[in-house]
C-alpha cells in the first residue's frame, strides 16, 4: 500500500451534522415534546408540513413511523428505529434517508441530547450518515472544520454552475 495518508481514523472522523438550539422550556417538557406522538406531530418537519401519521414506539428497537405531508399535499413517509432512550436527556434513533423518488438512500443515525440550565434546555441534534450495507465504505455526510471549508468552496463552485 502506497496510500500512507489513508489513515482509517481520519476517514471516519468527519461525518456529523450538528445543530444546537437553546429552547426556552424546561427539559422535562422538551423531552415530552420529543416522545409523545401527539406533540411530535405538531412540530416535526419543515414549515407548512403536517404529520397525518405519527406513530412512535419509544423503546429500544421500537419503530418510528411518520408521514409528513407537504403544503402541496405530497406525502413523505419516514421510518426509523429507536436505538437508545435515556429519559430525559438522550434519544438515539436511526432513520432512512430517502431520495426524491422516496427510495432509501442510506441510514442516518440521529442523536438528540438535552441539557438543562436555569429553566432553559440546550438541545443538540447530531446526525450522521451510517453505512447502508456491511461491506460498504464509510458513507459520510460529514462536517468537521476542514471538511466544512472544503465544502464551502465546493458549494460556492457548484453554485456558479
Amino acid at each position: 500500500m502506497t496510500t500512507r495518508k489513508d489513515n482509517p481514523a481520519q476517514e471516519t472522523a468527519p461525518r456529523e451534522l450538528v445543530i444546537m438550539r437553546v429552547l426556552n422550556a424546561p427539559r422535562k417538557l422538551v423531552w415530552k415534546a420529543w416522545i409523545d406522538p401527539k406533540h411530535v406531530a405538531q412540530w416535526w418537519g419543515p414549515k407548512g408540513f403536517t404529520n397525518p401519521v405519527c406513530e412512535l414506539d419509544v423503546r429500544p428497537g421500537g419503530a418510528i413511523r411518520i408521514h409528513m405531508r407537504g403544503p402541496d399535499g405530497t406525502v413523505y413517509p419516514m421510518t426509523g428505529v429507536y436505538q437508545e432512550i435515556v429519559e430525559p436527556e438522550r434519544l438515539v434513533f436511526t432513520s432512512g434517508a430517502l431520495d426524491k423518488q422516496g427510495k432509501p438512500l442510506f441510514e442516518v443515525l440521529t442523536t438528540v441530547t438535552l441539557t438543562e440550565q436555569g429553566g432553559k434546555t440546550t438541545l443538540t441534534v447530531r446526525a450522521r450518515v451510517v453505512k447502508s450495507t456491511d461491506e460498504a465504505a464509510p458513507y459520510l455526510a460529514g462536517m468537521n472544520e476542514g471538511w466544512n471549508q472544503t465544502l464551502d468552496r465546493l458549494t460556492a463552485y457548484v453554485a456558479k454552475l
Partner: protein, 117 residues
Amino acid sequence: MSIDPLSTTFAALANPTRRAILARLASGETSVTKLAEPFDMSLPAISKHLKVLERSGLIARTRDAQWRPCRLKAKPLKDAVDWLEHYRQFWEESLDRLDDYLLELQTKEKTHDHKKR
C-alpha cells in the same frame, strides 16, 4: 451490492486527500503531476484516488489530450451538497417549530393552572 449514486459520492468524499484534490480542481482543470505536487504521496497513490473520484463521477479526465487533464464534474457533488443542505434545513425548520410549540404548550399550561386555582 448495489450502491446508489449519492452513497458513492459520500464514500468518495470520505477521504481528506480526495477532498483536497476536488478543492484544487475547483479552480480549474490540471494535470495529475500538478495535482500530486502538494501531497506527500507517490503518483500511483494519487492516481488511485483519482480513479475513485472518476468512478464516482466527481471528476472527468480527457482521453485525447496527451497530458490527460483532470476536471471537476459538479453534478454528483451538487447532489451531495443539496442533500446535506436539505437535511440541515429539515432540522432547522423542525426545531423552529418545536420552539414555537413549546411556547404554546407553556402558555396553555399557565392558563390551565390559573383556572385550577
